[in-house]
């Protein structure tokens, strides 16, 4: 009785172990899918959207509204060309523009466009007055002043431009290339002692939350913001006098005012400082323009258009070299190689080649193509290096495909008096085409993602390659260099998303071809 009980208990344990093990296997399998989904999902999110953080001296409009600050009525609207990626301007920026100090937008918006300011003549004077500039200053600064039409048409025609038009211009009267952008003016003005160094510390950049706390009187001393041990004194808005002037007189004081007020106080000899605040901007990351524009300054400006072209060039040339070699080698191995020493040496050569890390291929390419043959960092050096690297993939898949061509077809052809070569050319290769192509596509997928083998061979020039001897940066390498040279993580992710999409397309195609081939084969049986 106890025996059977024991046995039952044992059986129970076995069954629960079985359930547990199979459950674990299933969970771990799902984990693999999850990993892929997380990787691709993360790349998609980071590739498509970006969340930039910058430090500005003006309070973002949203913050100003939250704080209930009243907006100065300005006598004009500011409209920008949509492609300039302007979102807002402030008084200082407008002033510099009007003075002709900004000639390119790249430092402002990272769009590499020359800057143009168009002003409607009917409000030109008011505009100059608003900026505390002499009205003839506008004429000298390279600003284009004209009728309303000329102004908006000019701004619509130039990618990197801003136009100043009369207030409340109906959006219907604007060309579709233009949009109204926000004007920001409030700053946190403080007494100069606040921003001084105290020991090794200084008041840092304020976050949204810190601004709110500061203005609601939560901080009693600047020490709480890493500054000196000076009490915080809030200066409220005054109608009669300027906040900036007030602040300049009280140690440890802080107030909110307009940039213009600070400027004017400065003119009058009241020394103040402005606190920096953090701004977070969310915007689309990968845009169509980024895809097609040529790359400039090593990726800092422009898009990845030229890089994409280079990538396809590299992959095309690599395939052009590796595919015939690989297929020929596979044909030799299947159709001609006899069992013997030479064959086994060739086979182990392919195996070893397949397992050599790409960094070693890179060094080899550097030594042989770049240095010994003197081809420098060029498309051809990189292409040859990668071609050697993907050779084993092509050989192996082609070999398999050629091997799976039925012997009967070869016999039929030979039986009709064809030579072996004719048989291979006319019967075997066409029949194996699907499998061979699949292998080539897979190899292309490998080539397109390669970095280590290309880093010291293909060069880093971002221009479209004009010949085999020009250096040509490819996408995967561009991602690496974008990180290394620090253009930005967002750009790296945008490029990475493009790369992964291409790789996914390539792999899915290969898989689809493979499935089609196997369905076809089944159909034949």
């Amino acid at each position: 009785m106890t025996d059977t009980q024991q046995m039952l208990a044992h059986d129970k344990r076995r069954k629960s172990i079985n359930r547990f093990a199979i459950g674990s296997i299933k969970i771990l399998s799902s984990l693999t899918v999850l990993i892929l989904v997380v990787i691709i999902g993360y790349l998609a999110v980071r590739g498509l959207y970006k969340q930039e953080r910058t430090q500005v001296s003006v309070l973002p409009l949203a913050t100003a509204q939250r704080l209930g600050l009243s907006q100065t009525e300005i006598p004009f609207d500011i409209v920008a060309n949509k492609r300039a990626e302007f979102r807002q301007v402030d008084w200082n920026m407008l002033r510099e523009m009007a003075q002709g100090k900004i000639i390119s937008l790249r430092r402002v918006t990272y769009v590499n466009e020359n800057f143009f300011l168009y002003v409607d003549e009917s409000i030109a004077d008011e505009f100059a007055r608003f900026l505390d500039l002499a009205s003839d200053c506008l004429a000298s600064g390279g600003i284009i002043v004209g009728s309303f039409r000329a102004t908006v048409d000019g701004a619509a025609a130039h990618n990197g431009s801003i136009a100043i038009v009369p207030r409340n211009t109906a959006s219907s009267s604007l060309p579709s290339a233009l949009k109204t952008i926000a004007y920001e003016e409030h700053v946190l003005v403080v007494h100069p002692t606040v921003t001084q160094l105290y020991g090794n510390n200084m008041v840092g950049v304020l976050s949204d939350v810190q601004v709110d706390l500061l203005l609601s009187g939560e901080y009693s001393s600047w020490v709480q913001l890493h500054g000196g041990d000076i009490p915080v004194a809030l200066v409220q808005e005054k109608t009669d006098s300027s906040v900036a002037r007030e602040v300049a007189g009280i140690e440890g004081s802080v107030g909110v005012t307009t940039q213009k007020d600070v400027f004017r106080a400065g003119e009058q000899g009241f020394v103040t400082a402005v606190l920096q605040v953090n701004r977070i901007i969310r915007s689309p990351n990968l845009t169509f323009r980024y895809l097609v524009l040529p790359t400039q300054e090593s990726g800092r400006f422009g898009g990845i258009g030229s890089i994409i072209i280079n990538t396809f060039l590299m992959v095309f040339l690599t395939t052009l070299i590796a595919a015939p070699l690989g297929i020929a080698a596979a044909v030799y191995l299947v159709e001609y190689a006899k069992k013997g020493r030479l064959t086994s040496i060739i086979r182990s050569g392919i195996d070893v080649l397949a397992s050599i890390p790409s960094i070693i291929f890179g060094l080899f390419g550097l030594l042989v193509f770049v240095q010994l043959l003197g081809w420098s960092f060029s498309l051809i050096s990189g292409t040859l290096t990668v071609a050697l690297m993907i050779l084993p993939t092509i050989i192996r898949t082609s070999e398999e495909a050629i091997r799976s061509v039925e012997q009967r077809l070869r016999e039929a052809s030979i039986g009709m008096g064809a030579t072996k070569m004719e048989t291979i050319w006319r019967v075997v290769l066409p029949s194996a085409l699907n499998g061979i192509t699949t292998g080539i596509i897979l190899a292309m997928g490998r080539a397109i993602g390669e970095t280590a083998a290309l880093l010291y061979t293909i060069g880093s020039s971002t221009a479209v390659a004009t010949g085999l001897s020009s250096g040509s940066r490819v996408l995967a390498l561009h991602i690496m260099l974008t990180i290394n040279e620090g253009q930005s993580f967002d750009k790296a992710f945008a490029s990475a998303f493009v790369l992964i999409v291409v790789v996914l397309i390539i792999n899915t195609t290969a898989r689809w071809m493979m499935n089609r081939a196997s369905v076809k084969n089944k159909g034949k049986e």
């Binding site: 070869r410 039929a412 008096g417 030579t419 019967v427 066409p430 029949s431």
Partner: protein, 265 residues
């Protein structure tokens, strides 16, 4: 040996095999086979599985060349010249076509299947090629069935049609001999009958050699029959060879009789 050969009237026999031995590596597959194959006739090879029928057939057009480690001794004369000495195998195979057990059309269009051989052996202009294709298909009694879809894949045909296509493909290179290795064993009875009729028609123009497992088939269509057997060391040899009617209804050898009456095999 050459002396013996000279005595065979060339007009009568296309193949003349003397003292043929064949080894696959170290295993002796065929021993001392002598055989003369008559022109414009159907010769059938019968015998139990593994006795070397296919092997012998492949000797005739040197298809064994494709297999490693095959050793052949003895002489095989075709039209009086030694197949293994005087012929280039490609040349030989143009004159000695082969049809296989399982239909093996190329994975291309019907037209291209037939045109395959002619294109190999010269570059005939389109019009000539069209004529060859039509003629071959007609000879193989397939023309009417496929003339409207010459550009369709050959794999879309039924098994019997595929086999006739393979025969047509062989005829397109205009051979003197057509070797067939169990050409109907993978086919249904109706297709089989069609191909048997076709063979009988073809023998007016070609010499046909056929391997078959189907004794009825051999007795139905062949003029001469060769009976092969394996000995205790699994080595194939020719037991009896002669006119089909004689061999089937009046076998000289006891083993032949036993085999034909179904006692073994």
């Amino acid at each position: 040996m050459m002396a013996e050969v000279a005595m065979v009237p060339e007009t009568e026999y296309v193949f003349d095999v003397h003292g043929l031995n064949l080894w696959y590596g170290s295993s002796h597959a065929l021993k001392d086979v002598d055989m003369q194959i008559e022109k414009n006739s159907i010769t059938a090879f019968i015998g139990p599985s593994g006795c070397g029928k296919s092997t012998f057939l492949r000797v005739l057009d040197r298809m064994n060349d494709l297999i490693d480690n095959v050793k052949i001794t003895g002489s095989v004369l075709f039209d009086g010249r030694d197949v293994y000495v005087d012929y280039d195998p490609m040349d030989l195979r143009r004159k000695v076509g082969m049809v296989f057990q399982r239909p093996n059309p190329f994975p291309m269009s019907i037209y291209d299947n037939i045109a395959y051989g002619p294109r190999l052996h010269g570059r005939p202009p389109k019009s000539e090629l069209d004529a060859i294709v039509e003629e071959s298909l007609q000879r193989a009694v397939l023309w009417d069935e496929v003339k409207d879809r010459l550009n369709k894949s050959a794999l879309s045909l039924s098994g019997g049609q595929q086999q006739r296509l393979c025969i047509a493909r062989t005829l397109a290179i205009n051979p003197e001999v057509v070797l067939m290795d169990e050409p109907t064993s993978a086919l249904d009875p109706i297709s089989t009958t069609k191909i048997e009729e076709l063979m009988v028609e073809l023998k007016a123009k070609y010499t046909i050699v056929i391997v078959t497992h189907n004794m009825q088939q051999a007795s139905r269509i062949s003029d001469n029959t060769a009976f092969f057997l394996i000995d205790s060391e699994r080595c194939g040899y020719l037991v009896e060879y002669g006119e089909t009617s004689g061999l089937f209804f009046n076998p000289r050898d006891k083993r032949t009789e036993d085999y034909i009456s179904g006692k073994f095999g």
